[in-house]
Symmetry: C2
Subunit: 257 residues, 2 copies
């Protein structure tokens, strides 16, 4: 008999989110699925890891059945701890999501969902991050089904060293989805503003707010593709070197005095 | 009279750290320096930002004199809030550091120091992250002096859009420093292990630990250069697209069913 695939799933919306329930259901027939996810929501934590506090693990039920392991840490913590201490061996794939809200363009650097998949790739495990491009109207069923197909392909083919797939699915019903595009990360970002308020004790505080800005054009940019009701798949890696600028920088001739 | 440069400095070791004091002193004569830094240490927070909690700002003294603004948030929060609400206008440069401990290779994705500089570049401000390659024997004086020279060059020449300089200085006295090298980000990472313990209430908890692994060779890799007692300067950007893999991924021919 063929050895069963071992699948680690996590997210940043927390272990009780709907997206991770749908993801677990969809991947169930691909292998043995372990859920290791933050106990509470950890959105916008970026690639934070927990060094100063002890991590704890609790077993969590949903609908009366064992569902998975909750960790008092970040999505990256969950992948590290899951892969090294909770699962019986290193998983064959890490799938992070399904996140409510898009993870595209510049904003992926703030994303706990994408960072969990990055942690998987750092551990040498093929990894996928999946998000739905809406905070308010999640249509998880198509996204879950699509993720299952893609995960099956990744299990067959693998991924290059250090590279993950960042998937963004439009928030529409399946019959409205117009295709699948391999994309580049866009340059779009939030134009932030702070909402300055006074609390009941007369002290100032600030809320971070912002407007999404689109700064690209073209048919292969992650956030634009999703706006066209197509699924975006971006191959992401963590070699951050700006190779083009290296020659120029050498000409600066920076020396010790 | 020439307009004075406006300089925003921050860190992830917290506003009371020695490194940020040395940095402020060193940059003082380049322009008007504003310190906006986390109230408490925020190491390994990656590119976390604070969305769910209000941010507060307090004025902090050191040695009886006004030193800067402390924020109950992450290094990225400090740059956003500093640049938009605290400084009189957008700063001309962001300098993050001087961090105690190296920020090289894969580990830069966990770094609050580097993420603060990344936040500066996202806001369109030339930015530098500076770290000393030792947790225990900081020799801040040379690093501070070197940063001043580099910051002056960056103020003159600018940096390409979306690109920051990640600087790592060996933890040795100035006369032991052997040169300055423009480098690439290495592939080195931590091989993690978790230290499993039982607390006095008989409950299990875990500490994240790990050993640094060097996975490169060559004369232009950030962590190797620092080990040769040279200053490493890596140009870093946040276009995470793995362009090389795009053609291959298109051949996967992923379709809707």
């Amino acid at each position: 008999m063929e050895k069963k695939h071992l699948i680690l799933i996590t997210n940043d919306d927390g272990i009780y989110a709907l997206g991770i329930l749908k993801l677990k259901e969809a991947l169930q027939d691909l292998g043995e699925v372990f859920v290791v996810a933050p106990l509470v929501e950890k959105s916008a934590v970026g690639h934070a890891i927990t060094l100063s506090d002890p991590l704890r693990v609790i077993e969590v039920e949903r609908d009366g059945n064992f569902f998975g392991y909750a960790v008092n840490g970040t999505p990256a913590d969950c992948v590290k701890l899951g892969g090294r201490c909770i699962l019986p061996r290193k998983p064959d794939i890490v799938v992070s999501g399904i996140n409510q809200g898009p993870n595209t363009a510049t904003n992926i650097i703030y994303s706990g969902t994408v960072s969990a998949a990055a942690e998987g790739t750092i551990m040498g495990i093929p990894s996928i991050a999946v998000s739905i491009a809406s905070f308010t109207k999640p249509e998880f069923d198509f996204a879950a089904k699509f993720t299952r197909e893609l995960a099956e392909k990744v299990l067959q083919k693998g991924l290059p060293e250090g590279t993950l797939l960042n998937v963004n699915v439009p928030a529409v019903a399946e019959d409205k989805i117009k295709g699948v595009v391999v994309t580049k990360q866009g340059k779009g970002r939030y134009e932030e503003a702070f909402d300055k308020r006074i609390d009941p004790n007369n002290r100032v505080y600030y809320w971070l707010t912002g407007k999404r800005m689109i700064l690209d054009n073209g048919n292969d940019i992650d956030d634009l593709v999703v706006m066209q009701n197509k699924v975006s798949i971006t191959p992401i890696h963590y070699d951050l070197t700006n190779y083009k600028f290296i020659q120029e920088l050498k000409k600066w001739d920076i020396r010790l005095k």
